[in-house]
């Protein structure tokens, strides 16, 4: 018996990167997956899952807008037949504009996509899950939510808000059987971070990427997906309101890449 047999999962940002890897992973563990993305690659994820013998449906929409999130949950319930897992995973990076020059417009946009999207997932998935008294909501945060200099400032602040939302929503859902947790990836090559990797390759320093982490390498999307699958499953049945760092150790140490250590 697979760990997620019979479960129905929404994955937003499912067309690429961590979302795609997670959708595939949840399907491999037996879940029927409703893959949501903004572009045509959403269907590629669906096709990959089906090619492996899994069950998936796709929906192309912007999961940062309220009506769309309501529609995602409605369609998952009617077309997939239920909803036990919601992985709220869409995000934008913000810009590296110097702090004093940043605009309210950028902040509002980053917050809308990174933070409000999580609120909406909790609101609409939570309404169904609390009624059925079972569910797991997983929010994508970031190591940048805990430390400076791991992402743009607006991005880092928006992800810190996501952490708080995991805690406050878990508390708001006390006694309902619905768990809310956040996963905090470190540096992983995805659409969002591709420029970091491409710049490093262009400069011939790709092997230095991730060197500030104790594991001395960047993460892979499938490693984040494994943690998402854990949080989605009953293996994490006593884990609630938590921030799960999957970052090679970057948040647990000094940024010791700047000083000389053996090896």
């Amino acid at each position: 018996m697979k760990r997620l047999e019979g479960k129905r999962a929404v994955v937003t940002g499912g067309g690429s990167g961590i979302g795609k890897a997670s959708a595939i992973r949840l399907a491999r563990e037996g879940a029927s997956v409703f893959v949501v993305g903004r572009s045509a690659n959403t269907e590629e994820t669906v096709e990959e899952i089906r090619a492996e013998g899994g069950t998936a449906l796709g929906m192309i929409t912007d999961a940062s807008l309220e009506d769309n999130v309501a529609e995602i949950v409605r369609r998952c319930l009617s077309e997939v037949g239920g909803l036990e897992i919601f992985f709220a995973n869409i995000g934008v990076t913000g810009t590296n504009t110097p702090l004093l020059d940043q605009s309210v417009e950028e902040w509002m946009e980053v917050y809308r996509i990174n933070t409000v999207s999580c609120f909406l997932a909790i609101k609409y998935a939570g309404a169904h899950m609390t009624a059925q008294r079972y569910g797991s909501i997983i929010l994508t945060s970031s190591a940048a939510s805990l430390r400076a200099n791991a992402g743009a400032i607006s991005y880092s602040a928006s992800k810190a808000a996501v952490n708080n939302l995991a805690q406050t929503a878990a508390n708001a859902f006390a006694g309902t059987g619905v768990r809310v947790n956040a996963v905090l990836p470190g540096l992983v090559e995805t659409q969002l971070t591709r420029k970091v990797f491409e710049d490093a390759r262009a400069r011939g320093v790709e092997s230095k990427i991730g060197h500030v982490t104790p594991l001395k390498r960047p993460g892979r999307a499938d490693e984040i997906a494994a943690a998402v699958a854990f949080l989605a499953s009953d293996d994490s049945s006593y884990v609630d309101g938590q921030l799960l760092s999957v970052d090679g150790g970057v948040s647990s140490t000094h940024p010791f890449g700047r000083i000389a250590l053996p090896n």
């Binding site: 697979k2 760990r3 563990e29 805690q167 878990a170 508390n171 859902f173 006390a174 006694g175 059987g177 768990r179 470190g186 982490t213 104790p214 594991l215 001395k216 993460g219 892979r220 490693e223 984040i224 494994a226 943690a227 699958a229 854990f230 009953d234 293996d235 994490s236 049945s237 006593y238 884990v239 609630d240 309101g241 938590q242 799960l244 760092s245 999957v246 970052d247 090679g248 150790g249 948040s251 647990s252 140490t253 010791f256 053996p262 090896n263």
Partner: protein, 253 residues
């Protein structure tokens, strides 16, 4: 997926009962070859028999983890007995007493620190070279929400567990180059007979209402988390402290 520890030698300390036994059972159920350690040979025997009865490969080692010399020699014996180096170490053993500040005496303090903190130095010291020779390994340490959120009469206990959190993170940094991952679990209130016995019914009822999940955890739930952290599934987790407390420490009150 369900055989994540196939062929791997897994050492669990404090394995004769409670959370430690649940972890040994979970790792065994996923194919792990279990070295069950406990200070009490009397308690260990039925636990090891229980593991074997489930069809797991299990051996018992009666050992006080605070004894550095004994730990070193027993970890060597484990490698010889299993014919393979240790892959997984779960540091679960602890000796705990809860008391007001004025009642802490030298004997209690020494015993708590020597088992609950120094014991992890010795087991980690003994296991790490075997893991390194094996191309890496995973260590899971049991800390507690008491490290950061101490309850009543926990001065010594919270000091021990804060020590475990610190040594986990420092070990994660130091042992990473050898391919060894080190992470910790911070359980909240887990309904083992030993923990339930500390409280009257009214206290238990109050505690449960403080938790978003509204109940004490089961040892099996901590074991499921330990198995995740000890497995290759957690390959990018390092120095992480994962709390499993039903959300107990999430709200301010």
């Amino acid at each position: 997926m369900s055989r994540r520890f196939a062929g791997r030698v897994c050492v669990v300390t404090g394995a004769a009962r409670g959370i430690g036994l649940a972890i040994a059972q979970r790792l065994g159920s996923e194919g792990g070859r279990i070295a069950a350690l406990d200070v009490s040979a009397r308690r260990l025997e039925p636990a090891v028999n229980e593991l074997k009865a489930k069809g797991f490969e299990a051996r018992g080692y009666a050992l006080d983890v605070s004894d550095r010399v004994a730990v070193r020699s027993e970890f060597g014996r484990i490698e010889r007995d299993f014919g393979a180096p240790i892959s997984v170490l779960v540091n679960n053993a602890v000796w705990a007493r809860f008391m007001p500040l004025a009642d802490i005496d030298e004997e209690t303090s020494r015993r708590m620190l020597s088992v609950g903190v120094e014991g992890l130095f010795w087991t980690t010291q003994a296991a790490a070279p075997q893991m390194a020779r094996n191309g890496g390994g995973a260590i899971v340490n049991l800390t507690s929400v008491s490290a950061a959120h101490p309850a009543k009469h926990s001065i010594a206990y919270s000091a021990v567990k804060a020590g475990v959190t610190g040594l986990t993170r420092a070990s994660a940094t130091e042992l990473a180059p050898q391919g060894i991952r080190v992470n910790a679990i911070a359980p909240g209130m887990i309904g083992t007979p030993a923990s339930i016995a500390q409280f009257d019914e009214a206290t238990i009822a109050t505690r449960q209402t403080e938790m978003p999940l509204g109940r004490f955890g089961a040892p099996e739930e901590i074991a499921a988390l330990a198995a995740f952290l000890a497995s290759d599934e957690a390959s990018y987790l390092q120095g992480a402290v994962v709390t499993a407390d039903g959300g107990w420490t999430v709200p301010a009150r």
